[in-house]
């Protein structure tokens, strides 16, 4: 009897809910299509503490620094660094800052024709050591903790392998590829020499952002359609849209990859797999990962389709650190730094590891 009387009520409630969602879906859809309600990215307050050419070192304001030395995040060369500070509710930087860490970020800017001549050694020998010095000076410490994300991890490894004397107390590599044989789906065409890296460069001498985006798109050809399906499913949800917009913006917002660094990457890392088979000879100098002896944390994602876990896993065995640890999480490439998993698992684990390997200071 009660089932019969409740059925129309439940139906009415469901109808009400569906109508309300349809209205919100229409409103959010229009806003999204018109781009009128874009979420501001990179909102955590910061200061530029060092600048050289297009590279900048940002220090995030934090009145409650409880640990030293500062953590210098080294970002990738092909994407925008705001993925680490997408939205106040989804910000790796904010989470780590709240953990009492002195956070800095090394942003490479947007490469143009002037930067086409930048090689891997430009970043590993010039920019990175200078940024480390600037970070120490800004924080008043003797050393720093380096945290390299994606290709930023490769640059950090190269820098430290070529300059073991750099004042780096700890090193963290996040979603960092070392075994490029494990990245066949991303690099297969170049590795098999069916595609010449020179053919990918544009008139500025760099790899255009569209090529980078297309390469990522090829990894999951139906990914974009699935993304739109998820968007349609959640378009009524204001909270979802607030988080979706900055992320969607970031996935289509790549930067040019400096040409010479790209050619070296293909030649040395992709084709010779020199980080694994090393030593990697660059600009007349060897880089041997075994020369890295500081405490080391390797963070990778089990469901990473860009840098598969197999491409990142060998790292712990390649560095010379006695205190080396690997953390493999059930997340995707971006999910490592910008997701619920990141906020609940990845970042607290990293914060705890850094705290354990740092000095406690008075706030």
């Amino acid at each position: 009897m009660s089932g019969v009387t409740q059925a129309p009520e439940a139906l009415l409630k469901r109808l009400e809910r569906d109508v309300a969602r349809a209205v919100r879906r229409g409103r959010n859809g229009l806003r999204y299509a018109a781009g009128t309600q874009r979420t501001r990215v990179g909102q955590t307050p910061k200061d530029v503490v060092w600048r050289r050419d297009k590279a900048e070192l940002w220090r995030y304001r934090n009145d409650a620094i409880r640990y030293a030395p500062p953590v210098v995040v080294v970002h990738s060369l092909v994407s925008r660094s705001y993925v680490l500070d997408l939205h106040p509710a989804n910000s790796a930087i904010r989470t780590l800052t709240d953990a009492g860490l002195d956070m800095m970020l090394l942003d490479w800017g947007v490469a143009d024709a002037v930067d086409a001549d930048n090689g891997l050694e430009t970043y590993a020998d010039e920019y990175l050591p200078a940024a480390v010095d600037a970070a120490r000076e800004a924080a008043g410490t003797d050393d720093v903790t380096l945290l390299g994300y994606c290709f930023g991890g490769v640059l950090s490894l190269l820098s430290l392998a070529r300059h073991p004397e750099l004042p780096v107390r700890n090193l963290i590599a996040m979603a960092t590829p070392v075994d490029f044989e494990g990245m066949a789906s991303m690099t297969g065409l170049l590795r098999s020499r069916r595609l010449h890296p020179e053919d990918v460069l544009d008139e500025t001498g760099n790899v255009p952002p569209e090529a980078v985006e297309n390469a990522f798109r090829l990894l999951r050809p139906t990914g974009e359609v699935a993304q739109y399906a998820t968007l349609w499913e959640n378009l009524w949800n204001d909270q979802y849209m607030e988080g979706y917009q900055p992320m969607a913006q970031w996935t289509r917002d790549h930067v040019p990859f400096p040409g010479r660094a790209f050619l070296q990457t293909v030649d040395l890392l992709v084709r010779d797999n020199a980080l694994v088979h090393g030593p990697l000879r660059l600009a007349g100098r060897d880089a041997d990962l075994a020369a890295i002896t500081c405490p080391f944390l390797n963070v990778m994602a089990e469901r990473d389709h860009i840098v598969p876990a197999g491409a990142a896993r060998p790292l712990e065995g390649l560095v010379g650190s006695e205190d080396a640890e690997t953390l493999c999480l059930d997340a995707g490439h971006v999910g490592l730094v910008a997701s619920r998993t990141a906020a609940k698992v990845t970042l607290p684990h990293i914060a705890e590891w850094v705290q354990r390997h740092s000095d406690r200071v008075e706030a």
Binding site: V114, A116, S192, R194, L195, H196, D199, E203, A226, E233
Partner: protein
């Protein structure tokens, strides 16, 4: 039971196998050859178009894309030289001043 709507479950059921097939196809030799051929043809067409229009553009005193590219490459090279010089200057400014030999040691 999943809370996802029926259309989404249907989409997911279809997307995965289709995605796997396409992902397999883009890793294949014919796809690689197609990409290489596409890039080659694009360059060839661009070169031919430039060659064909160069005479007419120069005749009316207009630069071609090649002229503009050459100029921007020269500007970039100049900027690189300026950058290198300013780095050298920075290094000189931060380097400790050379020690003067004292009068006693000089004598």
């Amino acid at each position: 039971m999943s809370g996802r709507p029926l259309w989404r479950r249907g989409f997911d059921a279809l997307e995965r196998p289709v995605g796997d097939v396409i992902a397999g196809a883009v890793q294949s030799q014919p796809f690689a050859d197609g990409v290489a051929l596409g890039l080659h043809l694009e360059r060839l067409v661009r070169r031919e178009v430039e060659r064909g229009t160069r005479r007419w553009l120069h005749a009316v005193n207009l630069p071609t894309a090649t002229d503009v590219r050459r100029l921007s490459q020269q500007v970039a090279e100049l900027q690189r030289q300026v950058r290198a010089l300013s780095h050298e200057l920075d290094a000189l400014e931060t380097a400790p001043p050379p020690r003067r030999r004292s009068a006693r040691s000089a004598s």
